[in-house]
């Protein structure tokens, strides 16, 4: 089951490229996660700090219900789409350096 990559002692340059790939993927993941969390916190704070927002209604339903029940989801999908594109680009970059 343990199928360790062939190069058990990758040379220094290779190890360096792998580490910078991991670092850039991590930075990407953290920034998307933080951006999304800030959005959620923002929504929670708006609801708590501005109760009159409940009076803004669309088809009898208050605006916060629209935001939390519907509006958040396109944001999740957009985050996922942007992340997938950027992650693939990071990998592409790594590949083009290593396979030169």
């Amino acid at each position: 089951m343990l199928n360790i990559p062939r190069k058990l002692n990758p040379d220094a340059a290779d190890a360096f490229y792998v580490r910078s790939l991991i670092r850039s993927q991590f930075r990407l993941a953290i920034s998307v996660a933080l951006g999304f969390l800030l959005l959620l916190i923002g929504l929670a704070v708006i609801g708590a700090a501005w109760p009159q927002i409940q009076e803004i209604r669309l088809a009898t339903i208050p605006l916060p219900w629209w935001l939390l029940g519907v509006g958040v989801y396109p944001m999740i999908l957009l985050s996922a789409f942007l992340f997938n594109r950027a992650a693939a680009r990071n990998e592409q970059q790594y590949r083009s350096i290593v396979e030169q």
């Binding site: 190069k7 990758p10 929670a44 609801g47 939390l68 029940g69 999908l77 997938n84 590949r95």
Partner: protein
């Protein structure tokens, strides 16, 4: 309410599940077949299967009930369930696929090469699966009781009986098709009744929201849980998802890292589509079954709405559709969990023999059934929230640090897992024993994720820093395997 139609729906779903499972026996049986199948399973198909397995009783019945009880606060639950998959996509999906781990204990072994850590992880997986199955059985008991009037324990016994049979037959799990079908079945079973209910109200000239009055009521009677509770719940849901044992196993079916990412993105789309309907039904519930909020039976909202709004034969037919979908939810989630559970038990207790797997399956179904029969039905969404808190305090730090930090040692991992499990577990037990009081202390123990997750991370990091000399020598090779894109170091994946 005419219970015959509902009973018929339960029987049809049960018979269909058993039939497909037994026929599936011929199609694929081993993890090897599962792996080979991965070459031909397109991402959207795989994504439907993940959605089918993930959408459990808590999603199908619990969310609408929660919206009836807590109003706007209830909307955070589906957000958490969905955003949990976003976290899984960001931090776990591609690296985990590349690790070629089939289960979480496999990952622990690949990453650290430590048998004690593997055993500890298996133990935690077993606890998590048991705790996760119990609310499914409570859901089954509730559904059967409400829709047919039969004693609730029969629903729980029926679900576990069918799951035990299908898993013993060896089908179900390996068939991506069944789980994929379950997603669309569950979606249809909520979408069709929702559309009919809304149309009916529209034709009658009635307002689905009583002209918006139901949102005013909420402002008066504040059952709001408070900021700490909501934040803690979100932490649990966001970080609990990426450690769920039955979810991880599905990622193995993706051929490579990028397709694992693509699959997860499609799962997000499918969850978004699904959660529209429990939310709408919850709003209808606030208008037409508001008395359920105080009766402690709010999880029945979805089941009672058609009878309340339309009634007659049409109401019975719509109820039957929902009941069928609900049983599909209990069956698919439970069978996914039982397979993960039986795999973990048999691997570590019976050295992975076929006979061992059979004994393990019986153990895997009997224990949660006894637990479910011995405990009272409590709010489904809340019970699942506790399981997510436990996963987020244990498996989540292990996966996140194991994938992204080369400094994690097996000693650190063990210390963090034990800390997370003990602190979160004892808090949840304390919350169950203590009398329910509205207070910050009760919130702290009943929803511990906000402090137990950071605690587990801190212990894992601190102990790893203290045992730096124990960093496995092959850590760089393992991390390279997790993160380096497939084509450049292994063209055959």
């Amino acid at each position: 309410m005419n219970s015959t139609v509902s009973l018929l729906a339960v029987l049809i779903v049960s018979v269909a599940t058993v039939t497909i499972a037994i026929n599936g026996l011929r199609l694929s049986r081993t993890t090897g077949d599962f792996y080979v199948a991965s070459r031909t399973v397109p991402p959207w198909w795989n994504a439907s299967a993940i959605g089918g397995e993930y959408l459990s009783a808590a999603s199908f019945l619990g969310i609408a009930g929660l919206i009836v009880v807590s109003g706007q606060d209830g909307l955070w639950f589906p957000i958490g369930y969905t955003a949990g998959y976003l976290m899984l996509l960001l931090f776990v999906a591609a690296p985990l696929r590349r690790s070629r781990a089939y289960t979480i204990p496999d990952f622990a072994q690949i990453r650290f090469g430590s048998m004690p850590l593997r055993r500890l992880t298996s133990f935690l997986v077993i606890v998590i699966c048991w705790l996760y199955i119990v609310p499914q059985l409570h859901g089954a008991a509730l559904t059967l009781g409400i829709s047919t009037g039969l004693p609730g324990w029969m629903g729980a016994a029926l679900v576990m009986g069918i799951v035990c049979m299908t898993v013993l037959a060896g089908g179900m799990r390996s068939i991506t098709f069944v789980q994929a079908f379950q997603y669309w079945l569950k979606l249809a079973a909520l979408a069709i009744p929702t559309v009919f209910l809304l149309l009916h109200l529209d034709l009658q000239g009635q307002s689905a929201t009583l002209g918006g009055a139901i949102f005013d009521v909420e402002a008066q009677q504040t059952t709001a849980k408070g900021l700490y509770y909501n934040i803690s719940l979100l932490v649990a849901l966001l970080f609990g998802t990426l450690g769920l044992p039955h979810v991880l196993v599905r990622f193995y079916t993706n051929p490579d890292g990028p397709s694992a990412r693509k699959t997860t993105a499609i799962v997000l789309g499918l969850l978004t589509l699904f959660y529209l309907f429990p939310t709408m039904l919850g709003i209808l519930g606030r208008a037409y079954t508001p008395e359920l909020a105080s009766s402690g039976n709010a999880d029945a909202t979805v089941l009672l709405l058609p009878g309340r709004i339309i009634g007659g034969t049409a109401g019975d037919a719509l109820t039957a559709i929902i009941v069928g979908g609900a049983f599909a939810a209990f069956l698919s989630t439970s069978s996914g969990l039982v397979v993960s559970l039986a795999g973990a038990i048999s691997q570590d207790l019976f050295q992975g023999t076929v006979r061992g797997f059979r004994i393990a399956t019986v153990m895997a179904t009997a224990v949660p059934l006894l637990l479910a029969l011995g405990t009272n039905t409590f709010a489904l969404a809340g019970a699942i929230g506790s399981v997510f808190a436990f996963t987020a305090s244990t498996i989540c730090p292990l996966l996140l640090l194991g994938i992204w930090w080369r400094g994690l040692t097996s000693t650190g991992a063990v210390a963090g897992l034990v800390t997370g499990a003990l602190s979160c577990g004892s808090a949840l037990v304390l919350a169950a024993v203590l009398p329910t009081t509205q207070g910050s202390f009760h919130d702290m123990v009943s929803q511990p994720a906000a402090w137990s997750v950071p605690l587990a991370f801190l212990v894992m990091i601190a102990v790893s820093l203290g045992t730096k000399d124990r960093i496995p020598s092959r850590v760089d090779a393992v991390l390279a395997r997790l993160h380096v894109p497939e084509q450049s170091h292994d063209r055959n994946g």
